[in-house]
């Protein structure tokens, strides 16, 4: 395998996404090829830097909860305003309850 082909696999190698056989092949190639080794070190540095940046990107704690609640509220309003969907949803809930009771009875009998 030529260096150009090895280079294309370095990202997967850095991410541990290669098969064992390919992983060993690339590791062996890097030991003997200063050019590819330099490319790999540069790539690793970039990926580590980006991961450090990612770890610093935390959303504000309340934002997630507020957004989730708003979406669920919209969902419920939508369901309430659509008679067909409301009826379908109600039927789904009744069926789920019935299946849960039947399962309970079966395990009780067993």
């Amino acid at each position: 395998m030529e260096c150009k082909q090895v280079e294309l696999l370095l990202t997967d190698y850095a991410g541990g996404e290669l098969s064992l056989e390919m992983n060993d092949f690339i590791a062996g190639h890097l030991e003997n090829c200063p050019h590819c080794r330099e490319e790999y070190e540069a790539l690793k540095e970039v990926m580590q830097g980006i991961h450090r940046l990612s770890d610093n990107l935390e959303p504000p704690p309340q934002h997630k909860e507020i957004l989730r609640d708003s979406l669920l509220r919209e969902q419920r309003i939508f369901m309430a305003s659509s008679p067909f969907l409301s009826a379908l949803h109600k039927k789904n809930e009744e069926m789920k309850k019935r299946f849960a009771e039947e399962r309970k009875n079966r395990t009780g009998e067993a």
Binding site: L8, I50, P60, S70, L88, H89
Partner: protein, 180 residues
Amino acid sequence: MRNEEDLINALARGEEYALEILFERHYEPLWKYSLTILRNPHDAEEVVNDAFFRAYRYGRTFAGEGSFAGWLFRIARNLCMDCMKKRNAKIEAVPDIHCYDKRTVAPHNQDLRVINEALDNLKLEYSEVIILKDISGYSLGEISVIMNKSLSSVKSLHHRALKAMGNLLKEQRGGEHHGM
């Protein structure tokens, strides 16, 4: 893990669990994507809010046509572009304003600031694929759906993006060294 097609169909039927699962799966990746593109937490919050609401309403009507992540990120991308256009419009009026607000999301250490700047100086397609893969944590397969490209194109794009970023970091370090 429930597949997205089942979840979208459940979402269209109004099942709350589907909304909760999709939200939980994509909230943080979307937040990180928006914040890294826009560099302003307030703007990122607005984009995340809008994107989820629009993707949710779109998903209800178009179950079976595409992936939730695909809609969500395409919507978010357009919202981010709109936000940046508005900021640029302010630049034309007041030329000394920077095109994004570095003050609000300026990493607290030099190393991260350097990474931030390198990302900022990449062409958009490169920074997007890096943000989606290495910051938001999506697989290349998921990214190929989000960016509407083949898997091999995304793989090659990611590789070129990382290389371009490496070159930029080398240049920046060379510049800092000469500045000393």
